[in-house]
């Protein structure tokens, strides 16, 4: 009898501390795919981290900690040895071994994917035994471990069984078993994905780790319309909302039932320009490409009133940008990220000098459901450029069609935002500025910028291990990118999240809520 009471009491205590909870999460976009090696897309990566794991992962404050690898040692500056976690099983039950790591390495390198950046600098991956792998680097890499966080491991056996050894070719609208089903080692299982409707995740009972919070089920609902998303939070249909519309943040702060978690995001919004084609595709200028002229690029830059965009369009929720990386990213320094006030007169003069006193027409491609107020910002830019005689023809489309269009280089100018998963400036420079080759170099250099001097600096960044020297090169590369006006940086986003009072979670600067840190009481 006594025992029974004790047992009941123990059970009750256990239930009270680990009461299972459902977290209903509303956000703007749906994921693009479940294939972890296909699309380097922040929303997709944010869901992927729940189910697929890498060798290492971030802690709450972005330190690197062991995940599928329990430890690693540097045998030589270009030779890492990783010891893998034992007893880990994929969600279909197959055991996790070194073969899966080598398989995933070869898979992520396939050219139809856009995730090669996460293994950039790795020359070779070798299996030593079932639970040890060797990583041979092309040169010393100071940021290797941060890179590896988003290199997610798939099961070789599962991929072979389901004919998914090849990465889904997203641009060609291909589907595969792996793009519709997930099988990772991570804390959550993907139970259901109905594209553009909802995605349901359940805690993985066989996970090797332990949840910090008590969330055992996550229901992710993409709600495109801003007003609807906020209404869903106000009416209690969802517990947490990311991608807050800027105009509603103040009202949410004033609501006693809700709380707003502030935080900046390591994402910079910018305009890219085609500097490769001999003639722009949608322009009134024929026979030459005006964006190849630095004076035109400078005019585009100095005519943008970033303070007005911050005050009116972003309602204060942005940091005007002069360089391509945000505060919080290694390499950012306030003194090189100073924005000068808009100068329409100067811009006009520059255009006249370049031979376009009456301006010209060009196409501007924009997503309309990806970044905070993306379409509104583009509309504001159209107005600002119109005042110096440049007529931008705005084509705002949903992210899914937009990204396919610009990846085919079918654009004159385009808006994009670049978040930095590794928290190091090299990530941005290598993806956006380095001359495009196959692989990670220039993977999103969609304006096809090619500057031999910058390429040399960026390549030096990959291998330089002397921190002080490397910081100097990083600064030089960022300033050179700025002063050549290769891009038109607009601002760094601030990304508050809003949630019910009973939800606790950790704001993350990569704007990816991690459900394992969340509690619902």
């Amino acid at each position: 009898m006594k025992l029974r009471i004790l047992l009941a009491a123990a059970l009750f205590a256990a239930a009270a501390t680990t009461q299972a909870a459902t977290l209903k999460w509303g956000a703007q976009n749906d994921i693009l795919t479940l294939d972890p090696h296909s699309q380097n897309h922040a929303t997709t990566n944010g869901i992927m981290q729940h189910t697929y794991e890498g060798l290492v992962r971030y802690t709450k404050d972005f330190a690197v900690e062991p995940c599928l690898a329990t430890s690693w040692q540097l045998i030589s500056p270009t030779h890492y040895r990783f010891t893998l976690r034992k007893g880990v099983k994929f969600q279909d039950g197959t055991p996790f071994t070194a073969d899966d790591v080598v398989f995933s390495y070869n898979r992520i390198l396939q050219p139809q994917g856009t995730m090669q950046i996460y293994v950039a600098g790795v020359k070779e991956m070798r299996k030593v035994d079932d639970h040890t792998v060797d990583m041979i680097l092309a040169g010393p890499s100071p940021i290797l471990l941060r890179n590896l966080v988003d290199f997610r491991i798939m099961s070789r056996a599962w991929s072979a069984k389901n004919k998914s050894e090849n990465v889904q070719n997203y641009v060609a609208k291909e589907e595969s078993f792996a793009s519709r089903n997930a099988n990772g080692t991570g804390p959550y299982l993907i139970k259901l994905w109905e594209p553009d409707k909802r995605l349901v995740m359940q805690a993985n009972p066989n996970w090797w780790g332990k949840l910090d919070g008590n969330v055992t089920e996550v229901i992710y609902t993409p709600i495109k319309a801003d007003a609807t998303r906020i209404a869903a939070l106000l009416s209690g249909d969802v517990d947490i909302v990311t991608d807050l519309p800027t105009q509603d943040v103040q009202r949410l702060r004033n609501d006693p039932k809700l709380k707003v978690l502030d935080g900046h995001e390591v994402r910079t919004i910018f305009i890219g320009l085609d500097q490769f084609s001999d003639e722009l595709k949608y322009s009134s200028v024929k026979g030459k490409n005006p964006f190849k002229d630095i004076r035109v690029r400078k005019a585009l830059n100095v005519s943008v009133d970033r303070e007005a965009i911050k005050r009116v369009t972003m309602r204060g929720l942005s940091i005007p940008a002069a360089i391509m990386i945000a505060p919080g990213v290694h390499g950012h320094a306030p003194d090189i990220d100073k924005v000068s006030p808009a100068d329409g007169e100067g811009a006009r003069k520059l255009l006249a000098e370049a031979g376009y006193p009456n301006g010209f027409e060009f196409g501007l491609d924009c997503p309309n459901n990806r970044y905070v107020n993306d379409e509104e910002i583009c509309q504001a830019l159209v107005g600002m450029w119109a005042r110096i005689g440049l007529k931008a023809k705005l084509n705002a489309q949903p992210m899914a069609t937009f990204i396919q269009k610009i990846q085919k280089f079918d654009h004159d100018a385009y808006m994009l935002g670049w978040g930095v998963a590794t928290f190091d400036g090299l990530y941005t420079l290598q993806s956006l500025v380095r001359t495009k080759t196959t692989g990670a170099d220039g993977s999103f250099n969609l304006g096809r910028i090619s500057d031999a001097k910058l390429d040399a600096l960026i390549d030096a960044l990959k291998t330089e291990t002397d921190v002080k020297k490397r910081d100097g090169i990083l600064r030089e590369a960022l300033v050179a990118t700025r002063d050549n006006y290769y891009y038109v940086p607009l601002h760094h986003q601030l990304r508050p999240w809003a949630m019910k009072r009973n939800v606790t979670t950790v704001h993350k600067a990569d704007d990816r809520p991690e459900s394992r840190f969340a509690r619902v009481d």
């Binding site: 007003a227 519309p245 509603d248 009202r251 007005a308 504001a380 107005g383 119109a386």
Partner: protein, 308 residues
């Protein structure tokens, strides 16, 4: 000449319609409001205080200015500005232009289609009649908005995006037009069935006039009364359908916003307190549709001999 005009005016003033118009203050008010709406839409480029589509004149710093009579308002913008600093009053005038244009064109298209099919159906009868009327029955079992959505959706799939944006307005006219022809066809068919057995039609047939000529010259003028009434009320419906489609985001592109598009865009700012961006276009839509509807009601009653 002057005497002729004066005489015509006197006769018009004394006409039954004018008499019933003078007797109904509601109708006079409705006619006045319709005139204001149509006038400001028609002459928007000249009377609107700003041109909201000239991006070079927009100033982002003026964005979200509340209406002039509120604390932070500016006399420059009577009804305030939207998120891009566009004058709301001007966007309403330009928007009404699109709304009215689409509405009228759709009604014209609908009426032409419906009247032709109704005439053919009623006059020729037989299998053609049965076929047209069954098609009409089937279409009546769907709400008009659904038909319009269907047509719009099909053209969106069939055409590349850029092409579709170019011709979006024509597609909309087609979609709303096709969704509304049934009423015309049914009414005209009914009247035609009555008229075709009357002596004057028989006579025309006996002297060997071509059936098409009989339909157009003899039957048509005698069935236009009801068509006019339906058309007036249909204008209001068409404007509402257009607004609904645009509100749902499948109507006219945001580069040429109609009243419905304006309401949709403004809707995003409703929760945050910038009510004027959506409320004023909404009010304009209500006033326009209500007055056109009242006019249509009056016309129906005035032309109905049983109510005299």
């Amino acid at each position: 000449m002057a005497a002729a005009v004066a005489g015509w005016l006197r006769r018009a003033w004394g006409h039954d319609l004018a008499w019933s118009f003078r007797r109904s203050p509601v109708t006079i008010l409705a006619a006045f409001l319709t005139l204001v709406c149509v006038g400001s839409a028609l002459f928007a480029p000249w009377v609107a205080p700003h041109n909201p589509f000239d991006s070079a004149t927009l100033n982002l710093s003026d964005g979200f200015t509340p209406p002039a009579w509120t604390d932070k308002g500016s006399p420059k913008y009577l009804l305030g500005t939207d998120d891009q600093g566009r004058d709301v009053l001007s966007t309403i005038m330009y928007g009404a232009r699109i709304s009215l244009g689409v509405g009228l064109a759709a009604v014209l298209f609908s009426a032409t289609l419906g009247v032709s099919l109704g005439l053919l159906s009623g006059y020729l009868g037989g299998r053609l009649d049965a076929f047209i009327m069954r098609v009409a029955d089937i279409q009546l079992s769907f709400p008009a908005i659904l038909i319009a959505l269907l047509i719009d959706g099909m053209t969106r799939i069939a055409l590349p995006r850029e092409v579709h944006n170019e011709i979006a307005i024509y597609v909309l006219v087609l979609a709303i037009g096709v969704s509304g022809w049934v009423q015309y066809a049914r009414t005209v068919r009914g009247s035609t069935l009555v008229e075709k057995n009357k002596e004057y039609v028989q006579a025309a047939r006996v002297i060997g006039r071509h059936p098409l000529a009989i339909m157009l010259r003899h039957v048509l003028p005698n069935v236009t009364g009801p068509v006019l009434v339906i058309a007036t009320i249909h204008i209001a419906t068409a404007i509402i359908t257009e607004a609904t489609l645009s509100f749902l985001g499948v109507g006219v592109p945001p580069t040429q916003p109609s009243l419905g598009t304006l309401v949709r865009i403004g809707n995003d700012f409703l929760i945050s307190g910038e009510w004027w961006i959506t409320v004023f276009p909404g009010m304009a839509l209500v006033v326009l549709v209500l007055s056109v509807n009242l006019l249509g009601d009056w016309l129906r009653d005035a032309l109905n001999p049983k109510l005299r």
